[in-house]
Symmetry: D3
Subunit: 136 residues, 6 copies
């Protein structure tokens, strides 16, 4: 098995927020991350796929195909957007990095696995001090 | 002259937007940076001060004082905020990184220069591929 | 399972040194890392916890609580300290990064696991070219 | 088990290329990576070994020995070289990062495992956006 | 005056080499950088322009235009190329980073300065330990 | 004029401390940086030289010579040392990064300027959030 990772980036606004809570309750639980006028991040996304080394000794998955899938399924929907308001696959979910990682996994898995590899990990860095990893 | 630089960070939402233009015109000029529902960044701020080496051979400016000034005057007002809506010193300005650098310069200069040094440069990185420097 | 990682930093002095060896023997085995007058590093610490995605769709562990535990149990005891002389949990141990990782694991595990997650990994970078990972 | 990682770097030229294909076919499959006059990268290599914590509480493997093995077996053969033309252990292989990772694993494993540890992972970054991991 | 910097990257092969010298002489002066079969780098390029803050409070230069100019004039000609063999503006020049910086300056200056700003600096990083700056 | 920068690193222990002050006074002024048992850093050093582009179109200064001078005059004396106790050129000086930058400038200038270039800047990063620049 060989593991291949592609890094992409997106800049987005969001707010930690539960619709069934008041603004006060949201601020109490989520602190400044619940600012009603939003804040934002330069998110960094690493997508890792794994596959067998092919007989003809070439690459496990064409990185251009991987890059295209990530851009079409994820980056174009998230980059320069509001995660809470603009992103169909985050609708009705709290916009935590945990939920974002799981949703991106679900977006990518079927398309990536048409290419003879397995999706292994979705990693998202929210700030230089925090990141999330999800392995399905 | 010795130059001392302190790095700080803030995560904020914003939108490139002129109030006297329609949404269409804003999108035409500013592109995806004008998304009406906002987007955001992890901004990195470097503040450089300069001063003479003191006779008693110690430091030019106490970094804890510099850090405190930057945090009180800038970071607390910008971090986890919306630059267009929440930040008094950006009111009625387009929230470009250029304008942000000039406004931060104006916020910091009087307070920093009470400490026997000169403010030399405000540098702001918006993404890993773009940054602005302002020297007054 | 979702994995959450928090990065923290500490700057500390240390010396590779076995008390039952002479300075000569220490220098022979540990080289310049055994300089009798100490040397030091900007250590970077990554603490990874893992947990189930909660039913209410929020975060696996509150990062502010994780940050507070790491700071109280580890950073305050190590930052701007001498690892060999000042740190109770490194007493009578060689101050290798390996030992540091295991000791930090032991410090953090009980406190972190009161929060419904498992401690997964302690990673310490000593220089940009060397790091240690410990999974218990 | 404790995991120790050493980072090294090499700058090399290469070309994605199958000798049994025409230049046209190579360009069609590999794109600009198949430029007949070569291109190149600053490759970053991380080698991770794992071992038990020794009774005498010292380090799992002497990093100077690990560094020497990586330099003699890998870096001296790849740095400032052409991977397709100059590197014996890449002869008759496509110079993909996947193949490079497997070949470096094979070069390092016997020498490293003479030191009472196991080779755990070879990771190679080709650009800041792509890396490969191989665990044997 | 406000300074705006855009970062771009290119991966290229090259060889330090004077055509009027023998291979031996080239190796003697340039060392491993003169390997006859080439080597390569991930070059990082920063282009800094400077201009007055406009009256309408918007940005000094549209970053999309700057990005397009750098890509058309520089990156497309250098990325995945051999600097000695494939790049018209480096013809008959030693492919040192110094010469590359001056040649890129000459390529960019006329096109950039049509946009009401001045080209201020071309910076090129060859490896993480070396970079060149040229201010015209 | 072309500017060339070389990056080097050293790991050292130090303590902010004036010998004519009591430990109490030192702790009051310098805080945790004055811990009597020392602390330490991974310092990063950038040395920038400037020179004219030579007629024969080659490099302004041989980077191997620059690297050798920095290593012999600075790194070997500071790396894995105690700045207060082990470094002759810091004797009787407060071990602030400011003083270190000036002392390194004085160490390097005569040796570097024998090579037909001028020393332009000494930059030292103490932590990822603080650095000093000195231009003579």
């Amino acid at each position: 098995m060989i593991y291949i990772t592609r890094r992409e980036r997106f800049s987005a606004a969001h707010r930690m927020f539960r619709q069934d809570w008041s603004d006060e309750r949201n601020l109490e639980v989520f602190g400044k991350c619940s600012n009603p006028n939003w804040h934002g991040h330069n998110y960094i996304l690493w997508v890792t796929v794994k596959g067998e080394q092919p007989e003809n000794n070439s690459f496990v998955m064409n990185l251009n195909i991987l890059k295209t899938i990530i851009n079409e399924k994820v980056i174009e929907k998230l980059d320069h957007r509001n995660i809470n308001l603009d992103v169909s696959f985050m609708k009705d979910k709290i916009s935590s990095t945990e939920n974002l990682a799981v949703a991106i996994w679900d977006e990518l898995k079927p398309e990536i696995e048409k290419n003879g590899v397995l999706l292994h990990c979705v990693k998202i860095e929210e700030t230089e001090n925090n990141f999330i990893e999800y392995y399905g």
